[in-house]
């Protein structure tokens, strides 16, 4: 009883902080979902694009640029990183996962070069969270309001885009590239643009994280991909993925639920070093579930096998 009491108390105390963090990480989950679900392009670039966005934003803030400009720069760099991955896959016919690993590995050096050292404090710089009028600076409410508003805006924009004529064409590339091409859709442009957009979202997430935590670190992306995947799986389990808006809502909803779950585990006294093992086991279970259900789950298994090749 005592254990439950302390667990619950510390969990509840952590809810606002965790919520702010999970809203920020919702963008990286969106950056994982778009290539994976919309373009059938399982991608690992986010693991490099997330710290890239952080590093770019950190350096820009340190150089005295405005927080919005810093985020804009991060978006641009992330977009370029995503484009590189897509180009490597299309031009040299390298498997998407391998192309992502190549870009992610190279980005580590790029990130170090951009910052000139392995971490950079931007504590004291103005951030977009300082602009919320009614909350004290640094308090999670400001972060929740700002990032929540951006999340909502991004979700609405994505939901609009993917049902337009152009957006439908992009989804067709993911559904059947040969058919898309035969219907006059430029598969290269759609793939590069889509994966680039996803890289931009991952970098946006990194930039917001740097502004939130007050420092940039080249290792800040470590394990972000597997966390993002876990969040995506949870989101899809909760809101589904059969329609466009559900598929787009899944990463944001999934991030919120997933990080609360992590917080709950930590509050219950789980040692932080075990967290990655637990997350990995969870993602494995979610991916394996369709085959474990036997013949009835065959079709679902086929839909997911691109990540198991």
């Amino acid at each position: 009883m005592d254990f439950l009491q302390t667990t619950l108390t510390s969990f509840i105390a952590l809810i606002p902080v965790t919520l702010a963090q999970s809203l920020i990480l919702g963008f990286v989950v969106a950056g994982i979902m778009i290539p994976f679900r919309m373009l059938s392009f399982p991608d690992l670039t986010s693991e490099g694009a997330f710290p890239l966005g952080g590093c770019v934003c950190g350096v820009a803030l340190a150089a005295g640029l405005s927080p919005v400009t810093s985020i804009g720069l991060a978006l641009l760099f992330g977009f370029i990183a995503g484009c590189c991955t897509a180009f490597i896959h299309l031009r040299f016919r390298i498997h998407t996962l391998l192309a992502g690993i190549l870009v992610m590995t190279m980005l580590y050096s790029v990130n170090l070069r951009i910052m000139g050292r392995s971490n950079l404090s931007v504590f004291g710089s103005t951030t977009i969270f300082d602009w919320v009028p009614f909350a004290q600076p640094g308090f999670p409410v400001a972060k929740i309001v700002v990032v929540g508003a951006i999340s909502l805006l991004v979700f609405l924009l994505l939901n609009f885009f993917f049902t337009t004529e152009k957006g439908t064409a992009v989804r067709a590339v993911g559904a059947n590239p040969a058919m898309a091409e035969a219907q006059g859709i430029n598969v290269w442009a759609a793939t590069i643009g889509g994966v680039g957009l996803a890289g931009g979202f991952s970098a946006l997430s990194g930039a917001l994280m740097v502004q939130s935590q007050g420092f940039a670190d080249v290792n800040m992306g470590l394990g972000i991909l597997i966390n993002g995947l876990a969040a995506l799986m949870i989101g899809e389990a909760i809101v589904g993925k059969k329609t466009v808006w559900r598929q787009l809502l899944a990463p944001f909803a999934g991030a919120i639920v997933y990080y609360q779950l992590v917080s709950l585990c930590l509050a219950a006294g789980m040692p932080p070093p075990d967290l990655k093992l637990a997350t990995g086991a969870f993602v494995l279970l979610m991916l394996a579930l369709p085959t474990l259900r036997g013949a009835g789950g065959r079709q679902a298994a086929a839909a997911r096998e691109s990540f198991r090749e």
Binding site: G167, T168, N176, M179, A180, G184, I185
Partner: protein, 259 residues
């Protein structure tokens, strides 16, 4: 009008398994003409269709549609002029998207895609009307994802998608071969009705000799990468399946079964 001029394509050039797929192939198809292409396996039928659609780059020769040389154009640019129905029903449609979305994609084949919402009431009613021609009930299933349709329904949808925008050229790549006989008849008769109604310039590849006899203005027989025989006009009207088979250099079991 379609012109294929001296098309050549060799696979694995200089290697022991070198294969000449197209060996100086010449073919002209007048506007509104419906030609049926036959020939044994490896005669170059698929290579010819792929060269026309753009998914196969020629070693030499040219492809001309309505006077414009499109030899160097990528597939997605040619799509504004050419529509294609594949043999495999899975290839011609986007399985995870709805019937309406697939119709939309085909509708935009020759148009610039904008940032306006794709599906609207006007388009949906047009699609409903077009699909009702088939009599398969697809018009009431616009929101159904295509993966839930049967092979025959998917192929019928592919056909409606292909003929929708009155393309300059319609390519039919053994499009009834993967269907059961009854469904194949439905798809084939829908094809003929559309081609006649819209006066489409059509190139249909088939292994079914009866189809070659029954449909089209002209039969084109390919052999080892070039046109072996062309039969048109009155001669085409009088031809029988056994006449056609007699012209094959090598008779295959499949052809005898089809006869």
């Amino acid at each position: 009008m379609l012109e294929i001029r001296a098309a050549r394509k060799t696979f694995y050039r200089g290697q022991p398994d070198e294969k000449v797929a197209l060996n100086g192939l010449d073919l002209t198809l007048a506007t509104g003409e419906f030609a049926v292409v036959i020939g044994s396996n490896g005669a170059g039928k698929s290579s010819m269709l792929n060269a026309v659609s753009g998914s196969l780059a020629l070693d030499s020769g040219s492809i001309v549609i309505n006077g414009d040389d499109i030899t160097a154009m990528p597939v997605h640019k040619r799509a504004a002029r050419i529509a294609r129905v594949f043999q495999d029903p899975m290839l011609g449609t986007a399985a995870s998207m709805t019937v309406a979305e697939n119709m939309l994609l085909a509708d935009l084949r020759s148009r610039r895609r904008t940032l306006r919402p794709g599906l609207n009431a006007k388009r949906l009613s047009t699609y409903r009307e077009r699909l009702s021609i088939l009599g398969l009930g697809l018009e009431d299933r616009l929101d159904t994802r295509v993966e839930l349709l049967s092979g025959g329904q998917r192929q019928s949808l592919s056909l409606i998608m292909a003929v929708g925008g009155s393309p300059d050229l319609l390519l039919l790549d053994e499009h009834t071969a993967a269907l059961d006989p009854r469904t194949a008849d439905i798809v084939m008769s829908a094809t003929v009705r559309a081609v006649e109604a819209l006066k489409l310039t059509t190139l249909m590849v088939t292994h079914n000799m009866q189809h070659a006899v029954d449909y089209g203005h002209r039969v084109v027989m390919l052999d080892s990468g070039h046109v072996h025989l062309e039969i048109g006009g009155d001669e085409k009207a009088d031809i029988t399946v056994s006449d056609l088979i007699g012209h094959f250099a090598t008779k295959t079991d499949r052809m005898l079964l089809a006869s």
